[in-house]
Amino acid sequence: MINVKNLTKIYKIYRKTGNLINDIFFRKYEDVLALDKVSFTIDDNELVGFIGPNGAGKTTTLKILSGILYPTSGKVSVLGFSPFEKREAFLKQISFVMGQRNQLIWDLPAIDTFLLNKAIYEINDLKFKKNLQKLTTILSAEKLIQKPVKMLSLGERMKMEFIAALLHQPKIVFLDEPTIGLDIFSQEAIRNFIKSYQKEFQATIILTSHYLEDVKRLAKRLIIINKGKILYDGSLVSIFQKFSQVKYVSLILEKEIKKEALLKIGQLINYQFPKAVFRIQKKFLPKVIGYINNKIDYLDLVIEDEKIEEVIKNLLSDHK
């Protein structure tokens, strides 16, 4: 469905020197490598999360895949089309929701934008009615569509943006920071909506987000990108196997033990009787568990993975 091979994008950026004369007459430009020979494939009905710090190349990738930007080099094929050619048949099968952009007509109710999109995407009356009803129901937004967009809250507006973008039932949906700036309730509503939408319409969704919670909750596959290069492409589960070197062991102690005795077990992260938390290197885990069983009286023992945020943070800092 999506095939990307050796995709490179270089931006030409004007560099200010601070000297007015030089800046006007002898302007200097520098090349900024946004994507460096990136390759990946995405299949039907996948929900892939793109993760990376600011300027990593996530949004650039999505903009090239949707045909907004022209790639410097490399091959891109989406649904069998070359996106930048902007063929009508291609554009009718995709959609892009950007958290900080809007396609809604500001002064008019959202229904006006929906009707416009109905004509643009040539959606027949029956499908329009059915999809509008479905989407408004999932988003609990039946009453919002008649309100002028300028009167809606950010969360409500985002719901309308989603409806406008999905009315034509696109096969591929690009979501760029769809929950940015939203309160926790709206974030939750949008996440639930994305999940239900993919299930209901069998769409392929590519999601970028600064909120790892979005990706954790929605994506099974993760692509981590930094400085234009892909650092990881795989499942959420296997990222722990590959890159996580530690586990967290939590103990609920039966009786209070001196801190010095606990330090013999491993790196003590937190101790507040009755709970003690240790950070243990994976390779020492069996030994440590054996030691705890023999030497410590405890009521409960829990072994947890490192938080995904930490795994990714470590991965990114290793490639700084």
């Binding site: 996530k58 907004i68 022209y70 009508e88 952009r101 004509a119």
Partner: protein, 263 residues
């Protein structure tokens, strides 16, 4: 093909309808803008009469001919403002990044960024311009063939103004600068209110061959009064075709170089 034209027309009408809805949101603004535009028109008309109260002709152009030229200028200028108002709002689209969402819609982006915001305030002015123009032309003894060439060359002038607006959009894609570019175009266009012959020879040459304001406005009126050779008519067609092709080429280049806002 016919289906595509029908669909594009439907989208254009929907954009226009929404533009009308936006325009009529504030009735006070609607009234004030219309009043200002009528006042501007009356004042300039007064200026022409004032000039001709001191002289009988300007470089061979009679009062009636200058009035027809002035009305032709207003018709072409207003028509382009009615149709291409959205060009004036292009910069915010580029800066905010909302242009991205237009570029991925399954229609030609010109439907939205060029003709997607018909200005109904100016449209109201087109009606009196049209009837005044017709009134003055009918008062003259005009041959049917001359009138035919006049109409064709007015359309040709509209094609040239379309090309200028596409140039401005392309420039906006590359530099995000639109306001100054459109103001330069408007300032130069204003030189076309009078026959290009009244300007110094060099300026007159530039306004005919380099920035063809003369071809847009003076040529149609000249053809109406049989002052224009067939060679010049062909030249006018060539200029329009050349500028339109070049502007579309620049737009394509602009799209390739477009960097979008925010990565």
């Amino acid at each position: 093909m016919l289906k595509k034209i029908k669909r594009n027309l439907k989208i254009f009408l929907l954009f226009s309808y929404q533009s009308l809805k936006n325009t009529t949101q504030s009735r006070q603004a609607l009234f004030l803008f219309t009043l200002a535009k009528i006042l501007r028109f009356v004042l300039l008309f007064g200026l022409i009469f004032l000039i001709f109260s001191k002289t009988n002709n300007i470089l061979g152009w009679s009062l009636k001919q200058v009035i027809i030229l002035y009305l032709t200028f207003n018709f072409i200028d207003t028509f382009s403002q009615v149709l291409y108002r959205e060009v004036y709002r292009f910069r915010p689209l580029v800066i905010s990044g909302n242009l991205d969402l237009i570029l991925i819609k399954p229609y030609h982006p010109f439907l939205r960024v060029l003709i997607g915001g018909v200005d109904f305030l100016d449209f109201l002015l087109l009606i009196p311009y049209f009837f005044l123009l017709l009134f003055f032309i009918l008062k003259e003894n005009i041959l049917f063939l001359s009138f035919f060439w006049y109409l064709i060359l007015v359309v040709n002038g509209l094609i040239i103004t379309t090309a200028f607006h596409i140039f401005v959009l392309s420039f906006g894609l590359l530099t995000t600068e639109v306001d100054n570019a459109i103001m330069i175009y408007r300032d130069i266009l204003n030189l076309g209110r009078f026959p290009v012959e009244i300007y110094q020879q060099t300026i007159s040459f530039v306004l005919t061959f380099i920035i063809p304001i003369g071809v847009m406005i003076t040529f149609p009126v000249k053809s109406l009064f049989n002052f224009l050779s067939f060679k010049n008519i062909l030249f006018a067609f060539f200029i329009a075709f050349f500028l339109l092709s070049l502007s579309i080429y620049f737009w394509q280049i602009g799209l390739k170089k477009y960097q979008s806002a925010g990565g």
